[in-house]
Symmetry: C2
Subunit: 346 residues, 2 copies
Amino acid sequence: MCEKARRNDLIFRPHFKTHQSKKVGEWFRQEGVEAITVSSLGMATYFAEAGWKEITVAFPVNLLQIDVINALASHATVNLLADDRDVIVELDSMLTYKVHLFIEIDSGGGRTGIPHSDLKRISSMVATVTAADNINLKGFYTHAGHSYDARSKDDIRKVFSRTVQCMQEVRQWAESNDLNVEFCMGDTPGCSVGERFDEIDAISPGNFVFYDVMQTIIGSCADDQIAVAMACPVVSKNAGSNDVCIYGGAVHFSKDSIEDGQKKIFGMVVRLGSNGWSEPLEGCFVKSLSQEHGIVHLSAEEFEQTKIGDVLGVLPVHSCLTAEAMGVYRNFNGELIDHYAQKNRD
Amino acid sequence: MCEKARRNDLIFRPHFKTHQSKKVGEWFRQEGVEAITVSSLGMATYFAEAGWKEITVAFPVNLLQIDVINALASHATVNLLADDRDVIVELDSMLTYKVHLFIEIDSGGGRTGIPHSDLKRISSMVATVTAADNINLKGFYTHAGHSYDARSKDDIRKVFSRTVQCMQEVRQWAESNDLNVEFCMGDTPGCSVGERFDEIDAISPGNFVFYDVMQTIIGSCADDQIAVAMACPVVSKNAGSNDVCIYGGAVHFSKDSIEDGQKKIFGMVVRLGSNGWSEPLEGCFVKSLSQEHGIVHLSAEEFEQTKIGDVLGVLPVHSCLTAEAMGVYRNFNGELIDHYAQKNRD
C-alpha cells in the first residue's frame, strides 16, 4: 500500500484502527509514513504518545470530548471530521488550540457526511469553517463503506470509480471557488483494487494491514494475504456432526459473520506451524460463536486428525474487531505486540 | 431468580459471565448465594479473589490451562465440566489438587456435552471419573442453548420441559446405578419462564441479571426488566433518512443482532433520565454498527427532537457481550462498577 501511494503520488495517512499498535505503527514509520488516521480520540492520544505528529480522527467530532481534543491539539496536528455547521460553530468556540478539519462527504455509503451532490450544504459548511477562528479547512474526506457490499474485484472497481468521480465533482466546485485543499478517501477494498486515483490527494485505508476473511470474500485480497490468526485450543469433539468446540468465542472474535456461498461463517480454519500457517482447510469453517465457545465444522478427514488439546488456527472474519477484542498480539518469536485496547487480565 | 430458586428448593449457582463484576457479585451474596458459575478460568480467578469459595467453570476443561486450574483449586472448590474420557484421564494425571466434575449433557443444544440418550458413553464417562484419584463426580450439567431459538414463552416452555425430561432420564439411569449426584441446568430463558424443576437440583442462569433486547424477543422478560443501557452521544444527523450516527459501534456493543419482525436490529433506543430511562422509543432502533459508528433510525418526531450532542440510551441486543466490550459500568450515582475485562484505556 505504501508502494501504491508512492506510485500514484498520494499522501498516505494509513488508518491505524485495525492494528491499534505502536509497534506496528513503527513499521509504517520505517516506510516513510508521517501522518496517520484513527477512529477515536483515545486512539489518537495513544499514538501521539508514540510520537506521531499529525493525526486524523476519522469520526464525526464529538463535542462532549472537547477536553481530549484540546489536550491532543496542544502538542499534535489534529485533523477532525465534521458534516454539520452547528458543530463547527460550537467547536470553534470551545477550542483552546487550533485544529484542522476535513469536511466529510457521503459518496454513497450513506453512513455519515454531506451528500457529494449537495453543493449548497457543502458551500455553507466551507463558509462556516472559513469563518472560524480556530479551525483550518484541511479538505474533504470520504469513506466508501459500500465497497463492503462488493463480492468481486469488478464490484469493487465500480464503487471505487464512482467514489473518485464523486470527489472529482466536489473538487471541481472547490477549484471554481479557489479552494486549494486536500481530497482523501479511505476504504480498504477500493484502495486495494483501484488503480486510477485521479485528482485524489491522499488515501487512508486501514484493514489492509492484516486483511481478513471478509476482505477475501469482498475481493480485496487473497487468502494468503491475511496476516493475523487466532490460536484456539480444541476442547470438545462431536462425532455426530464432525464439529469441534474451540476455546474462542464472541468475546475473542467479536461477532461479525459473512455469507460464504450458502453458508454464514465466523472464520476460516488453518493449521498453525512454527512460522506461519496453512492455506484455509477445505470444507472447514467456524459455524457459530457464543460467549466463549466457538463451533468449528471440520471435514471428515480433518475431524479424524484433530484431537482435544490440539490448537487450531482461525482466520477472523473481521480482523479490526478481533484485534480489539483480544487487546494484544503474539508474533512467531513469542513476543507480545501492544494494542491500544489492552485489558487488565490474562 | 433467588426467590424462584428458594421456592423450588434449588441450589442457586448464578452464572457471573454476564456481569463479570465483584460489586454485582456482592449483591448476590447479600441474597444468600454461596456458589457461582463462570465461563473461564480467568473469570474464576477474579471471583476467587473476591472471596468466592465454590466456583463452577461451565466450559469444557482446557488442559492447556492446567496451571491455572491447579492454582485455583489450591484455595477454592472448583467444579469443572467435561464430556470426554481421555480428557478426564489426562486431567487426573496433571492435577496437584482435587477438583469436582460435572459431566456435561447435551439436552438438544448440540454445542457440547454427551447426548443425554447415549447412556453407554455416560456410563463409561462416570466409570472414568470414579476411577480418577483427584476428580470427584459432582453431577451432570446441561445448557439448553436452543432456548435462544424461542420466540415466545410457549416456545421457551417446550424447550424447558424437554430439557428437564432429558435430565430426568439421565437421573433415572444414575439412581439405578446408585449415583447420588447433582443435576444442574442453566439457560436464562428456561429458568425465567419454567416453573416445574422436578428432579433438577441446581440452576445456573446468568443473563437474567441484566436481560437484554434478545431476551425480550425470545420471550424471557419484559422491556422494563432490562437493567443496562449504553449512553451514546449523537454525532451526525441524516435528514434524508431520519437516521442519526451515534458514538457507539461494534467495539462498544460487540456485533450481535436479532430479527425483530422483518428488521435486523442491533439495539433499541431509550431516552435517558437522571435515575433511569424511558420505554423503548416507538419506531426507533439501531440499524447498523461499524467499528465505532452506530446508525440509529429514529421516527420523524424523535429525529426532529434529537440534536447533535444529545446522548441517546441504547438497550443492547446481548448484554453479556456489551458489558465485556465496555469493561466497566457506571450507575446513576456516577459511581464506576468493576468488570473483569477492564481495559487499560478511557
